[in-house]
Chain length 222, copies 2
DNA sequence: TAGATTGTTAATCGATTAACAATC
DNA sequence: TAGATTGTTAATCGATTAACAATC
């Protein structure tokens, strides 16, 4: 369980498994085989078994997988089994939209929103008061923060990322349309909306040219 | 230029090339070699040359690439060389945030916002009046729409996607945390925020375990 | 026990990297 | 011309799929 590191391709599929299993759970499905999962998710059964076996065997020969158990195990792998805290840096439209999104559902609790605009000071979003960036260092002294979502204007993205790193933040969810320059210590996950839209544009304009394949699912639609 | 279809892995990298070249352009850089690009973008020079050669040769031996030319050619490949229209379905926080995001910058012009909530009727976001879903069919008769961004609640996502398909929409930018069931005719690009956050969570909790590699850039940080 | 389905090894496929001849 | 750097072919690497023995 220690040495080998898991391929990013595998990691990227786990949340989708997790979500699908969650839906099965809601529908009262107790057990499922890799073959059935394969049909429902448009992934090969072989890949599902390979993926899961990176983390140990969760199934049983002749039976398949227990939905509830598998769901909770994948949740553990993804770190969803305990509450993590998040702050939002940048209280603009996107920042406020994130604050209103229910990430508690997957174990992420938003405990602070920060901005530089004094006109926003004291306003609340979903019961969380917007604070000034100057207050951030003190806030981080008092509160353990796992993830910072970055929704500031492009031009302030890099300096603020540097500041966050200096303040000890080790995971940044980056919504700014730029690449951040932080040390290898800091995990960055980009949500580049413009790039996402551009690939949709490409696929839209060249649609019909791809030969259909199972594999294309994740590549094309994500 | 016709037959072979381009790998999704290549397509996914194009927007990032485009963005980086745009920055070089702003900084007045006229020419660049694949080696220099490689250094700046943390991708191998070999990969850059391979990627570009899927679309024909944009460079010149002994010289490298003309930044402006390459930027504009990639823009054409991605369909950014002419204005495309977009509507937003769901005028909640996320929908409004998208309406306020400047996608005109990359050639996408938002021409309509729709919702089912009558209390939103007549309100404007960035000068665009929110219309009722009932008005959508008539609107689509009058206006050519290339892309529909879907920012409705999870439970209405699938029926609305079906409706959009029936109304002739052929590209959906899906922000709902679910997979849509539409025909192969319709291009779907998912922005699954919850899944994105989950992979960040995984990487954050297992940080330091990956061996560093060039390749990991796109996989880890996107 | 017989049937089903996993866990896992082997085969295939595709994507990345390396190398180098072509050529500006 | 000599040097630089592309376009492209070949080699490597990794990820997906297939197959099957293990076993519930």
């Amino acid at each position: 369980m220690t040495g080998r590191s898991i391929s990013p391709a595998v990691i990227k599929r786990l949340p989708r498994y997790y979500r699908y299993l969650g839906e099965l759970l809601e529908n009262g499905v107790e057990r499922i085989s890799s073959k059935e999962l394969s049909n429902g998710m448009k992934v090969t059964a072989s890949q599902i078994r390979q993926d899961l076996n990176n983390f140990g065997g969760f199934g049983q020969q002749g039976y398949g997988y227990n939905v509830e158990y598998l769901h909770s195990e994948i949740g553990k792998i993804l770190g969803l089994d305990h509450i993590q805290t998040m702050i939002i840096i940048g209280a603009g439209n996107l920042g406020q939209a994130l604050a209103n999104y229910n990430f508690d559902r997957i174990g992420f609790h938003i405990i602070g929103i920060f901005d530089v605009n004094p006109r926003l000071e004291g306003l609340s979003v979903r019961g969380i008061e917007i604070q000034m960036m100057d207050d951030l260092p003190a806030f981080l002294e008092e509160n353990r923060v796992h993830v910072a979502a970055l929704t500031v204007p492009k031009k302030s993205a890099r300096p603020i990322a540097t500041q966050l790193e200096e303040l000890g933040i080790r995971a940044i969810w980056n919504f700014t349309p730029t690449d951040l320059h932080v040390s290898e210590e800091v995990c960055v996950k980009n949500v580049h909306l413009d790039e996402s839209l551009m690939t949709l544009s490409y696929n839209f304009r060249n649609r019909g040219q791809e030969k259909y394949s199972y594999r294309s699912y994740m590549d094309d639609k994500d």
